[in-house]
């Protein structure tokens, strides 16, 4: 039984090709940027017994807000509330509290709503709120940093006086932070304790009835909620860590809301015209490339002109097009992602200017060599860029773009700890990181560029920065505070310890029959809204 080689191998290949499938559909050209408004279902009638499924990249790690990677998810899925919250326009509004009034540069009066109760029925009075905040102070150093040096005093069952050690105007924003969810300290106890739905005791319109960490949480309507009742009777939250699998869920319509859909599947999901629609909204969170002026291997970065040249030599529009499929937007300065500072969009690297970039580099002595790489004293201009997390694509585009202005980029993608280690021994040139700009903005700024800030990677020590920070924090005039922050933003663009690129993209897939989804600059903690439900 002779069979020729060709037929046997050909047969194998044919089967292989059959198994790997026939050719797929052709691809469209890139689509225009996504919608930034929520899908409009029929506005009037909402099903008051709605049952929804949310698929997210992470379910709360514990039901205890002082745990890591828990509080923001509890808030996002309707379980937890803080005293204040940040609205979609960037302003700070009362949430659990009734009002927050500043009576002096260092004192604030917090009024609580009457008859608010935890799920267990225990009252949310001033004593309970104080106990919650103090428990956070003890057990959660991250959350504690937001009420650092704030003295909490109970005046009467519905009033608390807060006293700060320094004059400041951002206590409301601090109290809106997710790590300060108000919880029943007595129920949780003196240590981290978040695995039992019976012990968990928060105030939200939904309460968990079953919880498997990192897998699933099922919540049901809280009948004793202080505010207007939610139309959602039952909410199932499932974790799907793999972004591609989440995209698959969105495509197949196997959930009501899918959080953090990867941008690279956006085109496919739109083309499919399935039951879920994409909502793209830029986060109040600045993606940037941090530079090291004290780099030993890349001494060019010590020169501010070189750093500025990198900023001008980055084509943000192209970067957004390629790395986020056009769903984010270019950002010229780091404050520009904060919706309260629209003026910031006119500061910093407002355009892609390769000519200016070249001039700056020439001025700094780095001239174009034969291989297309700039040189000075026989040395090439190289920058080692480390990326991590979701910024792989950004790194690759930046490498290609900086190559065009004569800078050679050595790219590596890995874990954040590699970057931390490199920073510890000052063996780094550049890395990517994204950071929130909305909240207690002067403190966020101080952390980034202030003398003692733990996020001050370039070790900036500039008195002008300190002066502007002081003004931004404690000047009595609101307009002066705002101006100080904008001036600081402009100063930072001049000193250029970082190259801002674009705001982090928030891409959510929302079913067409879901009403009440609100695009929000802090979407990660604002998926659930009180009016949300399915169309009747």
């Amino acid at each position: 039984m002779r069979r020729s080689v060709g037929r046997l191998v050909g047969g194998a290949l044919a089967v292989a090709l059959l198994v790997t499938g026939c050719g797929g559909s052709g691809s469209d050209g890139p689509r225009a940027a996504g919608s930034t408004t929520a899908p409009q279902a029929s506005a009037s009638t909402v099903n008051r017994e709605s049952e929804l499924t949310i698929v997210t990249f992470r379910v709360a790690g514990t039901l205890d807000p002082v745990g890591t990677l828990s509080a923001s998810y509890l808030r996002s899925h309707g379980a937890g509330e803080a005293l204040m919250k940040i609205a979609a326009d960037g302003s700070v509004q009362p949430e659990l509290a009734k009002a927050l009034e500043q009576t002096s540069p260092t004192t604030w009066t917090l009024s609580l709503r009457p008859n608010v109760r935890f799920w267990s029925g225990a009252p949310v009075d001033a004593a309970a709120v104080k106990a919650s905040l103090e428990r956070t102070r003890v057990l959660d150093s991250f959350g504690a940093s937001f009420i650092k040096d704030v003295d909490i005093a109970v005046i009467d069952p519905l009033t608390i006086r807060l006293t700060t050690s320094e004059p400041g105007y951002t206590l409301g924003q601090s109290l809106a932070f997710y790590q300060l969810l108000i919880h029943n300290a007595a129920s949780y106890g003196p240590a981290l304790n978040g695995n039992d739905v019976k012990i968990a005791d928060l105030t939200g319109p939904l309460r968990p009835v079953s919880f498997t960490a990192k897998t699933e949480m099922v919540l049901e309507r809280n009948p004793g909620y202080w505010g207007q009742p939610s139309p959602i009777r039952r909410l199932t939250v499932r974790e799907v860590a793999d972004p591609q699998a989440r995209a698959q869920v969105a495509l197949a319509g196997q959930a009501s809301i899918v959080q953090d859909v990867p941008a690279d599947r956006a085109k496919e999901i739109r083309n499919a015209k399935g039951p879920l629609e994409l909502v793209a909204f830029p986060a109040a969170n600045t993606n940037a490339i941090y530079l090291n002026p004290a780099s030993t291997k890349s001494p060019a970065l010590a020169d501010v002109r070189v750093r500025q040249a990198l900023g001008w030599g980055t084509d943000r529009a192209q970067l957004v097009e390629i790395a986020t499929e056009g769903l984010s937007k270019p950002m010229p300065s780091w404050l520009a992602s904060n919706p309260s500072f629209p003026e910031a969009a006119a500061q910093g690297f407002t355009s892609f200017d390769a000519a200016k970039s070249g001039r700056l580099l020439d001025e700094a002595g780095w001239r174009l060599g034969s291989a297309g790489v700039r040189q000075k004293d026989g040395q090439d201009l190289t920058v080692r860029l480390m990326t991590w997390g979701t910024e792989k694509a950004m790194g690759e585009v930046i490498q290609a773009q900086w190559k065009r202005i004569g800078v050679k980029v050595d790219l590596s993608h890995g874990e954040h700890t590699v970057i931390s280690e490199a920073r510890k021994v000052n063996d780094w040139d550049a890395f990517t990181e994204a950071w929130t700009t909305l909240g207690d903005t002067p403190s966020l700024l101080a952390n980034k560029v202030g003398r003692t800030g733990s996020g001050n990677y370039a070790e900036i020590d500039d008195q002008r920065v300190e002066d502007l920070l002081a003004k931004a924090r404690s000047s009595a005039d609101a307009a002066e505070r705002k101006k100080a922050m904008l001036d600081l933003n402009a100063l930072i663009s001049d000193v250029a310890p970082l190259v801002p690129t674009y705001p982090r993209l928030q891409l959510t897939a929302v079913a067409k029959n879901v009403q009440g989804f609100v695009p929000h600059p802090l979407q990660y903690e604002n998926i659930f809204q009180i009016a949300m439900g399915l169309s009747a």
């Binding site: 002779r2 080689v5 292989a16 797929g24 690279d264 792989k392 585009v397 590596s412």
Partner: protein
């Protein structure tokens, strides 16, 4: 008794597999000349374009030429796998032979080490390394190499011992043949074939393992055009730009297929040889 007819395609299997592998290696070796673009240069054409005359295998999300990336990536994948395999084969053979030749104590200890290393899956070791040291191709290969020499050592040891137990070897030793002569005339001929076979078998597994780990994001990192990394990048675009998955997928498939055919063909050839010997 009906004699089992020799299945002729088997000889053809070896030939076909070797031919396919040779073609792949040649194409990949000629990458700088066959690939018309720089594999890392972006926007050499419109993004996400399917196969066309300008770009034989289309372009990817960065507008890079897929064909050029495939060729250069193949260089990396095949060269590294090949180099690693040769090293593992050499080290394993030497260790196994030494253990098999030496006295009882060394043999027992050596067997214990080899058995321990064999029982641990190499991918698991690579995963452990990546888990603690971060993803990189070097980490993956290093981790895998830590235990992947063991199958070769085990086979080499068994072959050496069985070769020395053959009547011809015993006779030669009785006639005063030295160790070196024994190795050359008795051991080596019996070692060659099976070691080569195992090499072919493990080579296929190695290529598949590297591709799989890179696919998870644990192997080669951007902008490396390694095939597994290309698969990981292309995975998102399976519905909109399938050529990004099919190209590296077919490459991996063909390589492993070639190696599998070679190993099957070699195996049959060895079977036949041993049958002849037995009769």
């Amino acid at each position: 008794m009906r004699r089992r007819r020799p299945d002729s395609p088997r000889g053809a299997l070896l030939f076909g597999g070797t031919a396919l592998l040779a073609v792949l290696l040649a194409v990949v070796a000629l990458a700088p000349w066959l690939g018309r673009f720089d594999p890392t240069e972006q926007l050499v054409g419109p993004r996400f374009q399917g196969p066309s005359q300008a770009h034989w295998l289309g372009t990817d999300r960065f507008g890079r030429d897929v064909a050029s990336r495939m060729l250069h990536g193949g260089r990396q994948t095949l060269a590294l796998s090949g180099a690693l395999l040769v090293a593992l084969l050499a080290v394993g053979t030497v260790v196994g032979a030494v253990v098999g030749l030496c006295g009882r104590l060394v043999d027992t200890a050596g067997q214990w080490v080899i058995d321990g290393a064999v029982s641990v899956p190499a991918v698991l070791v690579a995963l452990a390394f990546v888990g603690f040291r971060g993803p990189s191709l070097a980490t993956v290969l290093g981790g895998a190499a830590l235990v992947w020499w063991a199958p070769f050592a085990r086979l080499a040891r068994a072959l050496v011992r069985s070769a020395l137990a053959e009547p011809s070897a015993v006779a030669a030793r009785g006639l005063g043949a030295g160790r070196v002569e024994l190795l050359r005339h008795e051991v080596w001929p019996r070692l060659r074939g099976p070691m080569l076979l195992l090499g072919a078998v493990e080579a296929g597994q190695l290529v598949a393992a590297i591709a799989g780990l890179s696919f998870l994001g644990f192997g080669a990192q951007p902008p490396s055009p390694e095939w597994g990394a290309m698969l990981e990048e292309g995975r998102a675009y399976l519905a909109t730009a399938p050529h990004l998955v099919y190209a590296p997928g077919a490459a991996v498939l063909l390589t492993v297929l070639a190696l599998t055919c070679i190993s099957e063909g070699l195996r049959d050839r060895l079977d036949r040889q041993s049958q002849v010997v037995a009769q």
